[in-house]
């Protein structure tokens, strides 16, 4: 491991998850931010950089900062979908490295489930959306279905192989008391669940929940006296390759090729050294494409890689150990929860789902329609 210790995650927390009627996105973020700062032994007056992403305000960072009573000297509202928070981590490390601030607070909150705010009809199609919206592709599931069809055509990937991912992820959720879906499922349950957009069934799709989270990052200097042991950010990488699915260069290959290469290179670690992997699972196909693009297996071999419940508890490749967006929670932009779980695994806080002696973890966010990719590699002392 060659990486310099520049910045570390020192606090993580979820807000209430699942269904949170009566709560606002601001309340959820306040709740998570307070809990994450508390466990770090920091207070909001220590926060000098604020990062958030959402579509609940024309300027989420300004509204959230005002609500929490924070006047940051650095702010970042980068919104590239569900991976935004892995992008924020990279930006926070860069800012700390440049000496611009010491304590970064990253938050997310959503009440999409209680609001029933998904799939509200729109009546006009502007800018480049006019070449897609009129055809009625349900988003984002339809776009991921297009990628799945192509992967199956090109490599012979099967629905059974995609179902392996949903089943293994559910087994992890059964070990997480915060997970929303905890009854066991079998491969046939996935295959027999109704079609949403072929070749994706209902159980190939993530949940729709409320929820929020927060992550506190600080400099190596400040991390010396925080309450929790620092979880070092050893490497990070990011890119986005397209906005709409029509313009994805190759439907079977995501930008994780680049973000992963950059993150592994910066961290100076190899795939074999990782103890636990958390990748965005908006849909089963997202996981399969990401594992291939990150180089855990070759292009086209993802189906074989996940077969035989290799990614389940007790398997050789522990993946999405909190139960993922498929079974734990998915409040629209899930990426912050990847960071929270990876941090807890490295601290040894995960109880029945703990990976013994986990020292190195990878978190990878995917946003939009396989559009944005960001990889973060974390490690403990």
């Amino acid at each position: 491991m060659k990486a310099d210790r520049v910045a570390a995650i020192v606090g993580v927390a979820e807000s209430d998850l699942g269904i949170t009627p009566g709560k606002t996105v601001l309340q959820l973020q306040g709740q998570a931010a307070k809990a994450a700062l508390d466990e770090a032994g920091l207070s909001k007056t220590d926060v000098d950089a604020l990062f958030t992403a959402g579509n609940w305000s024309w300027s989420p960072p300004m509204l959230l900062a005002e609500y929490l009573g924070i006047q940051p000297k650095y702010t970042d509202g980068t919104n590239v979908g569900g991976s935004s928070f892995e992008f924020h981590v990279g930006h926070a490390v860069a800012g700390i490295q440049a000496g611009l601030f010491d304590v970064a607070l990253i938050t997310y909150g959503s009440t999409q489930r209680s609001d029933r705010s998904r799939n509200r009809p729109v009546t006009t199609a502007r800018l480049t959306e006019q070449f897609e919206l009129p055809y009625g592709l349900p988003m984002p599931v339809g776009a991921y279905a297009l990628a799945a069809t192509r992967h199956m055509y090109q490599y012979g990937t099967t629905s059974e192989q995609l179902a392996e991912i949903a089943v293994a992820t559910r087994k992890w959720a059964m070990l997480n008391e915060k997970a929303m879906m905890r009854t066991p499922i079998a491969i046939d349950d996935v295959l027999n669940s109704r079609w949403i957009a072929e070749p994706l069934h209902l159980l190939d799709c993530c949940l729709v929940t409320d929820g929020g989270g927060a992550v506190v990052i600080t400099s190596a200097r400040r991390a010396a006296d925080t309450r929790k042991a620092p979880i070092w950010i050893l490497g990070h990488g990011q890119t986005h390759t397209h906005n709409s699915i029509t313009n994805m260069p190759d439907l079977t290959m995501t930008g994780a090729v680049q973000s992963g290469r950059d993150a592994f290179g910066m961290a100076g670690v190899t795939h074999d050294e990782l103890d636990v992997v958390e990748v965005y699972d908006s849909f089963t196909i997202t996981v399969l494409l990401t594992l291939e693009a990150l180089g855990f297996c070759k292009p086209g071999e993802g189906g074989a890689f996940v077969s035989g419940q290799r990614t389940a508890p007790g398997g050789t490749f522990p993946l999405n150990t909190n139960g993922g967006g498929l079974s734990y929670c998915h409040p629209g932009m899930y990426g912050i929860f990847l960071l929270i779980e990876a941090t807890r695994q490295l601290r040894g806080e995960c109880g029945p789902r703990q990976i013994p002696d986990a020292r190195l973890a990878l978190a990878h966010g995917t946003g939009g329609v396989l559009s944005s990719s960001a990889t973060v590699i974390l490690g403990r002392d």
Binding site: N119, P121, V122, T123, T124, A125, R126, L127, T128, E129, Q130, F131, E132, L133, P134, Y135, G136, L137, P138, G142, A145, L146, A147, A148, T149, R150, Y153, R194, W195, I196, A197, E198, P199, L200, S244, I245, T246, N247, L251
Partner: protein
């Protein structure tokens, strides 16, 4: 109106495209400098960054790059299920999203040859859909 298909708003890039659709012509752009075809329309070539592109009529022939059969849809599309949305690779090498019209979903395959058809949705809107051609059907 909630049940209205999202209506394309022709703009400085797209107006000639929609005017072409009105004449039952599928127009795409070609870069005057690097000669590569471009879709969706824009003011700068995404390949060589030249700011000079010309409209040309596409053959309207292509193949299916990928597709999905939609079983759950919302708003104005809810009543259409099941329907097929596809990405079409035009003979000119550019990709478009569209629907496959006139064939049962089971007949659709990646690689199948298709030809543009002009589907009148309502008085305000005609869309370029694609149909499997003889050899592909």
């Amino acid at each position: 109106m909630a049940d209205q298909i999202p209506l394309p708003v022709p703009d400085g890039d797209s107006q000639p495209f929609w005017e072409g659709i009105g004449r039952r012509e599928l127009l795409i752009q070609r870069c005057d400098v690097c000669q590569r075809y471009v879709f969706y329309p824009r003011s700068h070539c995404p390949h060589c960054f030249a700011d000079s592109l010309s409209w040309v009529q596409a053959t309207g022939e292509g193949t299916i790059y990928s597709y999905t059969v939609i079983h759950q849809a919302y708003g104005p599309f809810a009543g259409d299920v099941p329907f097929v949305v596809a990405l079409i690779e035009l003979q000119e090498g550019v990709r478009m999203m569209s629907r496959i019209a006139g064939s049962p979903p089971e007949a659709v395959r990646i690689g199948a040859p298709v030809q543009v058809v002009f589907e009148k949705i309502n008085d305000e809107l005609t869309l370029p859909y694609f149909a499997l051609t003889e050899s592909g059907a």
